[in-house]
């Protein structure tokens, strides 16, 4: 039981741990919580002995499983056999996939025809125009220039164009789809109520789980990659559009109504313009999620930069992976800065007069791009051969040096591989074995109890059902393996993240220094994190966990810092005036009052950690993630899909277990 003792408390105790130290706020919560605990104790006293007698111990029983992989394999075979003959494909899906391929192909052709000078000029001028004309505009334009120049220098120009082409089509579709859904949800309460849980759930599911159904229908290739990107990236746009429409200042809407506007006039002249800022934020998030997915979709034949990373990772060629990973990061930064800056400008602007505003500025952009496209005939369309830098050889040499010198035998410290081995031996394995040792029914009970304590009985029901489904699918052991990795990563993330967040909130200078780093880290696609981790720690379970920690850390730090900083200043002042020490202020005022933020940090942390732990199947994470990879690469749909569904279920369980009822209600 010693192993489980470290494992279980993770989701259960991290949030309430704060509760213990404070009497005042706990008063509010203690009563319902105490009531629930009493009920639980009673139920446990009855159920546990009964269940122990009935089912004994051990993993999910064989006779309660249902094999879905065989029917799925059949379905896959049927799809492959009928792809060219069945009307469903001939008249519908085939059109979809042909249109998708054509659209991406023609965008790529256009980019290609513009030549590198044209694309570079378009990226720079567009960034400059979107971010405004002053210093911020110049900064964003410089970022754009740097990003694309480096893409070319690293010899990734063509792959970058391919990724960009896919992005252009995917983001356009996702934004339109999201906007349409968001409009419906923003205008109709019923649609909003129906859609919100769906969108909420879609946002917690790991990108990895989206791939397989699309492969089943469209086969590997551009259409599958495109459509799963669209579906993955549309929810933020939908959510924020709806939020913007709903959040419009009621006094403005009332005034507009009092002037006798028709509903359509209200929407066009007031509600949509007032929602602009939120919608741009939604577009920004949609773009970032699309980029993340486009890169991961390399596994289903998306091509481009993701493909380069993927093939390099599968041969553990860190240098090549880095050469493809850096452009991804730079494109992410370029896109984020450009859309973010455009969002910042809304509502603060005096529409000044002058040559460089409105239409004339756009004309300037168009003119500049045209000139640059013309210039391509002078310098050639493809990125010049001589202007590339090969970084993969030196990087691989550096990595070899790291492996030789840092992986083991470092005096006192041990070395990366030693750490990784010890982590696996002393934390991961006991945790996994402990979870597996638990009788299956007790895991269900635990999940139900925690979800009920933290949230409502609805979330308890959802979580238990999802957990049972995992058992029924026959991937109980593998899921517990993945779960143990998630829990280990989560604990590390929370310890580091909350500590860093509190430090940030209390020391402004640290925060200023960290913020750009956190910003950059939050925009990077999950895939990219695997590269340095593999370089340092090799292909092990620990690598996946470290990548997950690094990926989830920025969000946790940011949420914690914000929560602690936004504690009611009056309460802080009162505490200081009573002579509370720094420690007392932190433990008795700031952390207790920041509890909602801490809870959110746990929830976000768990969602992000799961996403990367699963992707970690590519670099030795094993378990469910590996099944998905294997299913994709060998065409074993049944295996992959089962793992995909299990990942979805695990995501649901983890989300419900950490999401408080108040946030949902």
């Amino acid at each position: 039981m010693s192993a489980t003792a470290t494992a279980r408390p993770a989701p259960e105790k991290t949030a309430p741990a704060v509760t213990a130290s404070r009497p005042s706020l706990a008063e509010l919560l203690r009563h319902p919580l105490r009531g629930k605990l009493a009920v639980l104790a009673l139920v446990a006293a009855v159920v546990v002995p009964t269940a122990a007698l009935l089912w004994g111990t051990g993993a999910w029983p064989e006779n309660l499983t249902a094999d879905i992989s065989a029917p799925l394999d059949d379905a896959n075979r049927w799809v492959i056999d009928n792809r060219d003959t069945h009307p469903l494909f001939l008249y519908f899906l085939l059109h979809l996939s042909n249109t998708a391929t054509d659209a991406v192909g023609s965008v790529y052709d256009v980019l290609d025809a513009m030549g590198w000078t044209g694309v570079l000029a378009a990226a720079v001028l567009f960034a400059w125009r979107a971010a405004g004309l002053g210093r911020p505009g110049a900064k964003v334009a410089a970022t754009a220039f740097g990003a694309f120049a480096v893409c070319g220098l690293l010899g990734m120009w063509d792959a970058t164009l391919l990724t960009l082409a896919l992005m252009v089509v995917a983001v356009t579709l996702a934004a339109l789809l999201g906007m349409a859904i968001g409009l419906l949800a923003g205008l109709s309460d019923r649609v909003d109520r129906a859609l919100r849980p769906v969108l909420d759930t879609m946002q917690v599911l790991p990108a990895f789980a989206y791939l397989l159904p699309f492969v089943l229908v469209f086969g590997t290739g551009t259409p599958a990659a495109l459509f799963c990107t669209v579906i993955y990236a549309a929810p933020p746009m939908a959510r924020l559009t709806a939020l913007g429409l709903r959040g419009a200042d009621p006094s403005v809407l009332e005034a507009v109504t009092s002037l006798g506007t028709s509903p359509w006039q209200r929407l066009r002249t007031a509600r949509l313009p007032l929602a602009r800022k939120q919608m741009l934020l939604g577009l920004n998030q949609t773009i970032m999620m699309a980029l993340s997915m486009v890169v991961i979709a390399a596994l289903v034949g998306a091509g481009g930069l993701g493909e380069e990373v993927y093939s390099a990772l599968s041969t553990v060629d860190v240098g090549k992976a880095l050469a493809a990973g850096i452009p991804i990061v730079l494109i992410a930064v370029w896109l984020d800065r450009t859309t973010g800056a455009a969002g910042d400008r809304i509502g603060q602007g005096a529409p000044g007069a002058g040559l460089l505003h409105g239409r004339s500025a756009w004309a300037l952009v168009a003119g500049g791009v045209a000139a640059a496209v013309a210039a391509r005939f002078a310098v050639g369309a493809a990125w010049p051969e001589g202007w590339t830098v090969n970084i993969s050889t030196p990087v691989n040499q550096a990595q070899a040096w790291v492996t030789d010198n840092l992986s083991s035998g470092v005096p006192l410290l041990g070395g990366t591989e030693v750490w990784s081995e010890n982590f696996t031996l002393w934390i991961l394995n006991p945790l996994r074995d402990g979870l597996m040792w638990l009788p299956w029914w007790s895991v269900l009970l635990l999940v139900a109890a925690i979800a009920w304590l933290v949230g409502s009985w609805v979330s308890a029901l959802t979580a238990t059902a999802a957990m049972s489904l995992i058992g029924v699918l026959g991937v109980w052991t593998k899921s517990l393996d993945t779960l143990s990795q998630v829990l280990a990563a989560l604990v590390v993330t929370l310890i580091l993240g909350v500590a860093a967040g509190v430090l940030c909130a209390r020391a402004g200078r640290l925060e200023r220094w960290l913020r750009p780093l956190l910003d950059a880290m939050q925009t990077m696609p999950q895939f990219v994190y695997l590269i340095p981790v593999v370089a340092l720690f090799g292909v092990t379970r620990t690598s996946a966990i470290i990548a997950a920690v690094v990926y989830a850390l920025p969000a946790v730090v940011r949420i914690t810092a914000q929560g602690v900083r936004e504690v009611d200043p009056a309460a802080m002042e009162a505490a200081r005036s009573l002579g509370a020490s720094t420690r007392q202020q932190l433990l008795q005022v700031q952390l207790p009052l920041a509890r909602p933020a801490l809870r959110l940090a746990v929830n976000q942390g768990v969602v992000l950690v799961l996403a990367v732990v699963v992707v970690g199947g590519l670099v030795g994470g094993g378990a469910l993630g590996y099944d998905v990879v294997k299913g994709l690469s060998r065409g074993e749909m049944g295996l992959g899909m089962t793992a995909g569904v299990a990942i979805v279920c695990l995501g649901l369980v983890l989300d419900r277990v950490t999401q408080s009822a108040r946030k949902r209600g």
């Binding site: 006094s251 009332e254 009092s258 002037l259 006798g260 506007t261 002249t269 603060q348 529409p351």
Partner: protein, 366 residues
């Protein structure tokens, strides 16, 4: 008429202006919030409950209870009360921004509650426009386009609405700020935009919902004088909601004083200050400088022999404050003269009685 100050002049012309024909006519109006709100006005037993009992029994809150009044053409009708008295709900019921629960509202004899959506839009577009406490300006539009918004909604062409908006912008004193955004203006300037937006559609009635409550005192006074000026120039009917008694007394031709959803007293400022209907109103008006509100018509007594021929002459609408000045200057009792006829006189004693408020106590005793 002795040289009146600006507000008094406004009131006087307004007093000449209003005919008896009502613009808005409100009868037995109820607005109840809560589950199954309809049953409250329908059931006399429920209707008689006070707020706390009603909430306990039905879970409903009655914001407006059985309110009736007429707004006469050309007058400034002030609805005044403390927060929660239902005054803002009441004014929103007039154009059905809040749907009334029960009762009748007519505008120029036409039933407002039976209007369909398009008819109601017509009412809001052309006949009654509103100025809000929190301005409700569109932040993404320039001042000029905000002012022109009402005309845009009506479908007026771009060049025409801009021309008309520019006129109104000038009228409210915002020249030179046409191309600013609301976010770049001060509170007072923003409210001028709100006022201009309401004026631009040339409505029959202007509705003001605590328009100046969010402004600094000095700017508030400016804006009040602006409203007085507009009313003097155009004679437009206005319904003005406020929680500020001084504002009500300054602007109102008639005041409806609300408490807990009911109108506790409806009358001219002088009637409210001089003859409070109950202890609540009396308490409310206790600190009002009475000499500024009461007129000599109330303060005068019948002339004794000989008095009718000498002394300074005052119109019956003159305030006691003005009479004191005249009496102190001449040292004689002042005559109240209307159409060359002496109605009565006011002397030191009569004036001091008003200032001291002792006349009020006699009324109570009587």
């Amino acid at each position: 008429m002795t040289a009146p100050t600006a507000p008094e002049a406004a009131k006087d012309t307004a007093a000449d202006g209003p005919s008896d024909e009502p613009v808005f006519s409100v009868r037995g109006l109820w607005k109840v919030f809560g589950p199954k709100a309809d049953r409250v006005p329908a059931d006399p037993e429920l209707a008689a409950l006070d707020a706390a009992e009603l909430r306990a029994r039905t879970g409903c809150t009655a914001a407006v209870r059985d309110v009736s009044f007429d707004v006469r053409k050309g007058e400034v009708f002030v609805v005044m009360g403390l927060s929660g008295s239902g005054k803002s709900t009441l004014v929103r019921c007039l154009t059905r921004l809040i749907e009334p629960t029960f009762g009748a509202i007519e505008i120029d004899g036409e039933d407002v509650l039976s209007m369909d959506a398009s008819r109601l839009r017509e009412l809001r577009r052309h006949r009654a426009s509103m100025v809000f406490q929190h301005f409700g300006l569109l932040p993404h539009r320039s001042v000029l386009d905000n002012v022109a918004y009402g005309l845009e909604v009506q479908g007026v062409s771009r060049s025409e609405r801009r021309a008309r908006a520019a006129e109104v912008v000038a009228k409210v004193g915002l020249e030179g700020l046409e191309h600013r955004r609301p976010g770049q203006l001060s509170g007072g300037q923003q409210q001028r935009v709100g006022l201009a937006r309401a004026l631009a559609v040339d409505p029959e009635v202007l509705l003001f919902d605590e328009p100046f409550s969010a402004l600094d005192p000095l700017i508030r006074r400016d804006m009040q004088e602006e409203v007085v000026r507009l009313h003097r120039e155009e004679g437009r009917t206005m319904v003005f909601i406020t929680h500020d008694l001084n504002e009500a007394l300054k602007l109102g031709d008639r005041i409806a004083l609300m408490r807990d959803g009911r109108v506790v007293q409806l009358g001219t400022p002088e009637e409210i200050v001089g003859a409070p209907a109950d202890d609540y109103v009396r308490d409310f008006v206790r600190d009002v400088p009475r000499e500024q509100v009461m007129t000599v018509r109330t303060a005068m007594r019948p002339p004794l022999s000989g008095e009718a021929d000498s002394g300074p002459a005052l119109p019956p609408g003159a305030t006691v404050f003005e009479a004191i000045e005249a009496v102190a200057r001449t040292g004689e009792a002042a005559r109240v003269v209307e159409d060359g006829r002496c109605l009565g006189v006011v002397d030191h004693a009569a004036l001091l009685t008003v200032v001291a408020g002792t006349d009020r106590r006699e009324e109570v005793a009587a």
